[in-house]
Symmetry: C2
Subunit: 373 residues, 2 copies
Amino acid sequence: MTEKKRRGRPRQAEVARLAGVSQTTVSLVLGGNKQGIVIHEDTRRRVLEAARTLGYVPDPAARRLAAAQNNLLGVFSFTATFPTDPAHSYYPFLVGVEREAAARGFDLVLFTGSSTGGAGAEAPGALERVRLADGCLLFGRHVPTGPLRRLVEDGFPLVHVGRRDEVEGLTWVGADYVAASAEVVRHLVAAGHRRVVLVREDDDAPASTDREAGFRQGLAAAAGGEGAGGDQGVEGDQGAGGEKGVEGAVVRLRAPAEELTADWVVAQRAAGVTAFVAEETDTGAAWRALRGAVARAGLRAPDEVSLALLGSPPPDLPADGEATGFDIPRAELGAAAVRALTDLLAGRRPGGTLARCAFRPGSTTGPPPTATT
Amino acid sequence: MTEKKRRGRPRQAEVARLAGVSQTTVSLVLGGNKQGIVIHEDTRRRVLEAARTLGYVPDPAARRLAAAQNNLLGVFSFTATFPTDPAHSYYPFLVGVEREAAARGFDLVLFTGSSTGGAGAEAPGALERVRLADGCLLFGRHVPTGPLRRLVEDGFPLVHVGRRDEVEGLTWVGADYVAASAEVVRHLVAAGHRRVVLVREDDDAPASTDREAGFRQGLAAAAGGEGAGGDQGVEGDQGAGGEKGVEGAVVRLRAPAEELTADWVVAQRAAGVTAFVAEETDTGAAWRALRGAVARAGLRAPDEVSLALLGSPPPDLPADGEATGFDIPRAELGAAAVRALTDLLAGRRPGGTLARCAFRPGSTTGPPPTATT
DNA sequence: TTGTAGGCGTTATCAC
DNA sequence: GTGATAACGCCTACAA
C-alpha cells in the first residue's frame, strides 16, 4: 500500500551509528537515564550532536510500548441526552480534566461510542474499550452497573464523577448537592417562604436523591426538627409541616415534558405555596417544566413567586443565568477526578472529594407576596 | 517498583491460551484479517468468546508500532492563551468533531501538552505524540511549521482547522473570513458610514490576514473599485478613499492591551470615522481594546458610534452577544475536519471546505450620527 | 487452517 | 562506562 513510512524517521540505531556508539548508549543519553548511570561527557556530546543533525525524535508508540504504560486517561460518558446537545455535555468538566491531565503528563481519550445517544453506550462491550487507556473517568446520571462492576473487579482504575455507590469499590468524586440544596431552601425560608415545592425528575439518580435530601434537610433545619413531606405525583398534596409551619412537597415529573400546567401552578399558590425549586439534571427537564408552567400561569419571579434551581441553568437558557441556585465547580471536580485517578494509577488510595457548591443569590427569589394569589 | 500493572490488561497471548490456539490466530481473528485468510468458524468463535470473557482490548501503542490502525483520531491545539481560559478554547469545535467521529466509529485523543500554554507545544517532539493516533486534527492561530512539515512529509494524515498555507501539502478546512468580513463592512457602508477603521492584532495569522482582506474588499466593493488604506500604527492616518468617498484604515495593536485610548477614539471621530470594526482572535484582544477605548471615551453604540466584530464575542463577555458581526460555524467546521481526515485515512482526496459564516445583525451598529462629535 | 519466527523502536537488565 | 540481549504487544510473511 503506502510505501511504508520508513526513511524520514531516524531511529536510535542510526543515531548510534553516526555517533559511533551502541544503540543502548543512545537510549541512555537521550532517555532520562533514570538508572543514574554515568556517561562520558564526550560520548554524551557526540550522541546529542548526532541526534540533532539527524533530527531524531523518539517514537511515541515504541516509547509507550516499552514503558508498558500509555499515559492515556480515558473519558467515558453515559449520557441520556445527545452529546452534541449543548444542554448536556461534560465539556465544562473537561477543562479541568484537561488542565490537570496535562499537568501530570497524560493525554486524554474521549470515547465517543460512549455518548452516541444510545447506539454507543448500550452496545455491549462499548465500555470495555476503555481498557485501552491506563485508567478512565466516568460521567453520567445512570451507569450500567454490570459491565462497570466487571471493570472494577478486574482492578481497572476508574473514577466516577458524581456520587455513585451502586458499584462496590468504585472510586468517585462528587459535589455536595445535599448541603448546597439545603442552603437554597434555607435562603427561601429566611426570605419568609413557608410552603415550598420541589420539582424533580422521576428517576432515582444519586444526583436527584441528594438534592431531595438537601431539600428536606433545609426544611427540617428551618422547621427546627422534622423534615418535609413524601414523594407524590403531580397531583399529590403537601407533606407534613414542621413546627414553625414550614412545609414542603416533592413533585416528580412522570414524563419528560409538559407535565406541569398553569392550572397546577395556580392551584399550588392557592394552597399557599410561594416558592418553587427545581433540580438541575443533564436535560434540565425539571427546571424547564417549572419555568414554563409559571410563565404560562402569567406569574413573574421574584415578585409574584420565587423560583430557585438546584444547580445552574442549562447553557441554552443563558437568560436564566440569574436564577437563584448554586454553582457546581465543574472544572474543579474534573481536576479532582484526574487527581484521584492518577492516585489510583500510582497505587495510592485517593482521598475522598466532596466539593462545595457556591450559593448563587440570583434574582428569581425574594420575599413571598404579601397578598395571596 | 510498582508490581507492574499487568493483570487487568489481557494480551492476545492470554486469549490464545484460553481459546487453546496460537497467538497468531487470535491476531487473525481479532485484527482485521486483511489478508483474507479463512478460519474455522469454531476456532473463530472460541477466540471471540475468550476475548470477550477476558475483556481483551488491543494495545494502541503496540498496534501503531506494528503499523496498524487504532480507530483513534488525534486533536492537537497550538494555543496562545491558556487552554483553561474560557476566552479561548476549541471546545465549540469539539462538539462537531465528537459527533462526526462517533458517527464514523472513531474515538478521540486529546493531546494535552498541546495546549499547556508553553510547556507542551514548544517541547520538541511534543507534536510527535500524535503518531499514536491514526491521524490528527490541528487547531491554532500559529503553528510550528518545522515539526509539522515533518509529519506531513512522512505522510501522516493531518487536517488543520482554519486556513493554513505555510505548510505545503497540509490539508485544511476553514471558514470564509474574507466574505464574512466584507459583508460586515458592506453592512456598515449601507448604513451610511463612510470612514471605517479596522482594529487588528499585530501578528500575521491567516485568520487575521483574511479578515483584513475582507475588510478591504468590502470597502472596495462599496467604493466601486479601489480598496482601502494601508497598514498603520495606532497613530497612523487614513488610507486613500474610494470613489464614493468610502475610506478605511487599519490599525494594528502593538501590545496586547491598553494600546487604544479614549483620546485616540475621539481623534478618529473628529477625523470623520463613524464606525469601528475589530477582528476576533482567540484572545479577543482587538475587540476588548476597542470596546474599552470607546467606553472610556464615553461613547455608546449604536447611537454615537457603530461597532462591529469580525467574528463572535469571547465567551467571557456574554453581554457582547448582540455585537454586530458574524458567527463561525464551529461545530460544522469540526465535523468537516473529521470528514476530511477520514477521507485522508481512506486514501481519498478530501474535498476542500470553506464554510460560510452567518452574518449577525446585532445591535451595535446603526446609521452614523448626523451631527459630528 | 494453524503455528513459528522475525521485526516495529524503546527501555531495562546484565555482563564486559 | 558501554554494549549485547531480552522484553513490550501486535502484525505478517512463511512454514507446516
